[in-house]
Symmetry: C2
Subunit: 576 residues, 2 copies
Amino acid sequence: MGALYGAFHFLRLLQTLQPIDKLDVSQKPRLQLRLLDHWDNLDGSIERGYAGRSLWDWKALPENVDSRLRDYARANASIGINGSTLNNVNANAQILTAEYLRRVAAIADVFRPYGVKVYLSARFSAPIELGGLKTADPLDAEVAAWWKQKADEIYKLIPDFGGFLVKANSEGQPGPRTYHRTHADGANMLAAAVAPHKGVVIWRAFVYDMKPGYDRAGAAYENLQPFDGKFAPNVLLQVKNGPIDFQPREPFHPLFGGMSRTQVIPELQITQEYLGFSNHLVFLAQMWREFLDSDTYASGPGSTVTKVVDGSLYHQRLTGMAGVANTGTDRNWTGHHFLQGNWYAFGRLTWNPDLSSRQIADEWIAMTLTHDPKATETIARMMLESHEAVVDYMTPLGLHHLFWGGHHYGPAPWWNTEPRDDWNPVYYHRADAEGIGFDRTATGSNTVNQYHWPVRGQFSNLSTCPDRFLLWFHHVPWDYRVRSGRTLWDEMTLHYQHGVAWVRATRKDWDALSDKIDPDRHAAVAKKLTIQERDAIWWKDACLTYFQTFSERSLPAGVEKPAKTLAEYQAKSLQW
Amino acid sequence: MGALYGAFHFLRLLQTLQPIDKLDVSQKPRLQLRLLDHWDNLDGSIERGYAGRSLWDWKALPENVDSRLRDYARANASIGINGSTLNNVNANAQILTAEYLRRVAAIADVFRPYGVKVYLSARFSAPIELGGLKTADPLDAEVAAWWKQKADEIYKLIPDFGGFLVKANSEGQPGPRTYHRTHADGANMLAAAVAPHKGVVIWRAFVYDMKPGYDRAGAAYENLQPFDGKFAPNVLLQVKNGPIDFQPREPFHPLFGGMSRTQVIPELQITQEYLGFSNHLVFLAQMWREFLDSDTYASGPGSTVTKVVDGSLYHQRLTGMAGVANTGTDRNWTGHHFLQGNWYAFGRLTWNPDLSSRQIADEWIAMTLTHDPKATETIARMMLESHEAVVDYMTPLGLHHLFWGGHHYGPAPWWNTEPRDDWNPVYYHRADAEGIGFDRTATGSNTVNQYHWPVRGQFSNLSTCPDRFLLWFHHVPWDYRVRSGRTLWDEMTLHYQHGVAWVRATRKDWDALSDKIDPDRHAAVAKKLTIQERDAIWWKDACLTYFQTFSERSLPAGVEKPAKTLAEYQAKSLQW
């Protein structure tokens, strides 16, 4: 594998026109488990997938293995990824039947030469659904025996099988809590089954049982932190980058730096569930950089998320990072040519979490689009600015989850009819006549306390809280003066306007590159940018029209008036 | 379009290494409507599709048009195809809603520069399902008005829309007969709706209402022939190449040469519903050549199907040929690399129905696989022999429809439990202690009479009936001496054995080409050939084991003994 990685690195040097006359390169990956999670269902659909259908054609397997699977494995090897979880974390137990395991083995055979191990999402209730047992209680001997036998069966077919990924007691999935056992009980039982084969269990921390008046942002910490140190040595805890759910921007998750005796790995989302699907150009390296560079202060200054993750802070035995894949059967793999860059960026960051987003962008541009210096400069700027721009036209200043609960695409900040409070946008923005934002300080949910000092203090204090997290931690009056000296209302509207302006300018910049990029891809990206511009205007107009009903303030100079009425935006929001 | 076709022809000359120093080429397509029919459902599945999912991503359209659609249109233009029916003939009326028509228009926009017109399969009951009418009676004024308005709506969006393809009163589809009207009444009503826009209606002749003791092979002729001369000038009647249903081998359909005053076009099946799906290497040009060269004697000797189809016999205004597509989202388009050659062959034959299958094979090999003369010779032989070999191991000597009614993949000659007689293999082979075969002469169903003299006589007479159609037209004693001097039983078993032997030899021939073909495609085809060999043995053993229970004769020297019992083959046949 070293030779393969070395060969790909050499190719990268050639493709990026680096000098190769005096090469003396020594590298090793900083993280051990470098994983793609596929939320692929057995019927070929992909939950939150926006680039076609699943690449795994279960009907054709094991007999016919699409040659794209080799391309997929090779592409992953070229950027350092060494593991792939094939099925949705909302798991169907069928994947563990003998029939499906033969198909999984056929995929593993194709991936093996490229050093990509196969992992599976395990449904916790499989012993009932497949084994005919009456319970899935992790402390029940029969249940443990069933999993042990199942693990043996899997490793007979796939000797280098990676292990199980588990979403338990979350969004309706079964789990140990169903039997009044702990998350550690559940994870450790499965860990015992795969331990003899050197397999791992990756347990997801995405748990948020609804309690009256609770703060969803604090749920995962409350549920999992008490079990720090209780997990078996071959268990990893997979924690989303932020405390809510892959929002355009979130502060880092307090569990990073909050579990010194647990092997915590980040779950990033490459597929753009909350970032315009495969229609919006967003270079996620920038967002991930912000996350990895966040200082948890868990052991004083410099305790960045990177150091928590790569083991330099807690020296855990196993390290890793998982990304929810944005790949599918679309000919360009990711639905939007630029979003291949996010797959690339994720892989490069798993190999070296210190890489700058500019370097990653430059590599990808040179290897994919052009070597022209001026064009590279323009495109790199587009990519590096894109994330901030999308945050501006969707959820600026710490706003979050203004999306309708179904599609997660367009704006529905007025939505208030989901059965669970925390599935309604109004739960998150809490706009009223006085102001807007979710108070997570002592006067509110106080979940800011899940962060270490001085982060806790910085976020709690309205005057020190960064603008970008203002409405995440505070309910702020409309006329509050932010750093710019503008009122919150004016600042918010100008952020939305800036997001729109950026997409407009970017469209022009891209059009000007028509002679530098091959016509097919240039035209395809131009088309996507027209969609992105339409959506940015939609977001700005829908959100401002709605929030204006609370603020009752007029739009400042430079902010374009919405074209439609609130009712029209409310009607539109469900067409997605 | 002439310039485009010319350019592609020039590229073909280059790719096939033809001299281009003194070019003086003048060509025009022999057929006017050169159509691919897609049996694609709106949910992305493809009826009888074996190369992935539908290329039309209705959810993403009209906004996002996969660039493969342009590749598809360009590929079609390069082989002369100028029309594409997007949806399954078992049609869903939804395709005619405004929402879907916008998406269809987006596809038409991509196809237009390549001269590929879009057609749609129309569900005859759409006026009820979409229009809220109480009837779809073609003579009802409201119904006619609804279709006229719908046609106007379509042509507003797609000015060059091709027209409607209709499967009516067939296999449960609604149609004019539902209202005691004729097929002509139904076709002509729709024809009137599209006529102002120069559109056409393509009416399928695949009709076989079950009647006690009837012969399905005669049904289409009985149902449609009486309406010869009754169809409007913009109606074409689409007739399958054979009287049953895309069997590995059938005699030509008696409606060719049977309707001198009707614009008849053939429906060929490129996708291999009855030919091993995308697992078996079969070069269909050979089968189509046999069909097109068949002499109907409709106006004396030399009245070949080609002359019926290209208008030289009846001088109809509109001519054409339709092929049921074998394309899908698989990276290689057709699931099996060699089956791209069938897509190619179909297009070339619509352009020039006189092309020899050897020339088509040589063109395709040179443009796709290799220029090496020895390799070309081997591969061309493989392709040209393949169809006869598959007939040998599936349905030799005029046997037909030994397939299980569901999958149409493996053998189930014993099957006898379908609700309709003519959906059971036993209905077709009629094996008993005396012999085997379907008597279609005067002593049987007498549908041989649907052919012109002397074809009728040649097929009716056991001594003049070609071996390849023997059991299609005759119930033949097991000990009957065929041309070879062998008994029917021995001859049949040797045909099955020959089919198996051919696949074995072909696997070796292909392996020997490993240095002439790129490794990826060589390995992929080699894998398919192992599947084909397994299936050929399966067909031989299952059929011989079953028929032996009637013939009670032993297998002659050179025929390998089946490995399993009849019960085991019967159990296996449903696993598909």
